[in-house]
Amino acid sequence: MLLYLLVALLASWLAPYDPLEISGSPCESPGPDHLFGTNDFGQDLFSMLLLGSRATLLFGFLGACISAGLGTGLGVFSGFLGGRTDRVISGTLDVLMTIPQLPLLLVLSIYLRPGLYLLCGVMGLLGSLTQARIIRAKVLSLSTENFVYAAKGLGLSDFHIMFRYILPSVFPLTFVKFLFGAQHYMLLGVGLSFLGLGDPEIVDWGQMLHQVYSGGGFALGLWNWFLPPCFAMVGLSFSLSLLGYSLEPWLSPQLRHEKQAFFECD
């Protein structure tokens, strides 16, 4: 995961060529000059792969941030405060949830030609609806827990209970959703660009695959053209899952404790 982030940050220095620049002859095979060869315009595929990670990662993480943040906030407020606040929030969520996500994104990107950020925003907003639902359910069950009751009995303020008692308890859930969300949005972003609906100025992996498709790379069996972005995607998804698992004990003191006990047993 760290490797991916580093690559995305340092892409401009690492990449041997400008990905849009025509640096060699078309359809070169992999070699010392062009690590993964070139595409049908003669653009360097290795540089495209490196720089493409930027847009893909940004798309995924920005979308996931928006959805996890907004969703958790809404869920905690709605679940904990209850009453009218809850009815208004969940009612709105129910209505918005009926909007199908992918078609909306397709229509938006076809007619409005929006930038990356707007698409992220819309996706995050839609994703936050399910997130809010899940968090609200969790908060509702937490609100009847003895320790929340006890905190109320001590006269602690609602905000204090929400931030110190409820939020840390739902945080692991939020984080897991965040990682899955990131994975989901990256794939969605790649999918959109593969359909040719992304920003043509910005190189990402989906666009690379789109070019393979339209440039006849599949038909010609140019594996050096389509395999690298595919493997990059698989690797990224995999590392996100691993990250999720490895962070679990850090998120929950109970698990951390158990893990310690486990190691001490060894």
Partner: protein, 310 residues
């Protein structure tokens, strides 16, 4: 003036099986430094009474009557007013202390933040924390502060919960079965501790543990099926129990023969006519089956809800 005065309090819960009458016409007074033991079996309405006093019941519970705290009716207070009263004036020591602590924060952090909410500055809170922990019997407050609730034993959790409730130094403590699930040594320690910390405050001690109540309280109130059946000084109740239910409870004590009361308490959705205890009462007369007895004053502040004392 009495610190808290509960006047004909009724708490009902509408359910599918019918109206559950958890607390029915309870009248209680508690003086400024008085310790009252509220005794009853599971489902007799004692915890509901405590939660009603703090207004912590779920929203569908219906409360009627009056709960006057220093002359103010708690049932008329707004949520903000209530929040100011909770903790600062009336504090709850909840049941199941190990589940009453935030599982994701260390004990120290919880205490610190509660103290901060109580209006202490950061410095004061840091200074006050070990003092508070020591006052509930921690020999090494620092190691306690670093522990998570799941690392603490039942007795430790109970002490921490008591420490938390003392953070605001309230004038009335409502202790909801604090000796439940503790071994006899810890139980004795907690009782002593509760006695120490309530030296200058009032205590409503809710329990089914008659002996603990006798050690800690000056007055005892017995509840059965949602209503008070006997109320009086500790000595009077123990030496001269009036209500057959009280006598039954006393005979059920290990020291007095361990004789259980036959039968079980009636469901709160379908309370019997007449006295609610009549089906289990060895001394029931014809009148007990048809007429519901009021609380009779038998003199010297000793009250009893039984037709035997007309």
């Amino acid at each position: 003036m009495e610190l808290i005065e509960i006047k004909s309090l009724k708490v009902t819960f509408p359910t599918e099986a019918g109206l559950v009458r958890s607390v029915d016409c309870v009248d209680l007074q508690l003086g400024a430094r008085e310790k009252l033991g509220l005794i009853g079996e599971t489902g007799s309405g004692k915890s509901v009474l405590a939660h009603a006093t703090l207004r912590l019941l779920q929203p569908d519970a219906l409360c009627e009557g009056e709960i006057l705290y220093q002359g103010r009716n708690l049932l008329d207070c707004t949520p903000t007013e209530l929040r100011r009263l909770r903790g600062r004036e009336l504090a709850l020591i909840p049941q199941n202390p190990s589940r009453a602590l935030n599982p994701l924060q260390t004990v120290g952090k919880q205490l610190f933040e509660t103290l901060r909410q109580a209006g202490y500055s950061k410095k004061e809170a840091v200074a006050k924390m070990p003092e508070l922990l020591r006052s509930v019997g921690a020999i090494d407050p620092d190691s306690w502060a670093k522990a998570y609730p799941h690392e603490c034993s039942g007795g430790m959790c109970e002490r921490i919960v008591i420490a938390l409730s003392l953070a605001f130094s309230p004038s009335l403590l409502l202790a909801d079965e604090p000796t439940k699930g503790l071994d006899s040594l810890n139980r004795a320690r907690i009782i002593t501790l509760l006695g120490e910390v309530t030296e200058n405050r009032a205590l409503l001690f809710i329990t089914h543990d008659l002996e603990a109540a006798a050690l800690l309280c000056t007055r005892l109130a017995l509840m059965y099926a949602g209503e008070l059946v006997e109320l009086g000084d500790k000595a009077a109740v123990f030496e001269n129990p009036l209500h057959p239910y009280t006598r039954g409870l006393l005979f059920a004590l290990p020291a007095r023969g361990m004789q259980p009361i036959p039968g079980r308490s009636p469901p709160l959705t379908a309370l019997p006519d007449g006295c609610r205890f009549h089906s289990r009462c060895p001394e029931a007369i014809a009148r007990c089956r048809s007429q519901h007895p009021p609380l009779f004053d038998t003199g010297n502040g000793h009250f009893c809800r039984c037709w035997l004392y007309v």
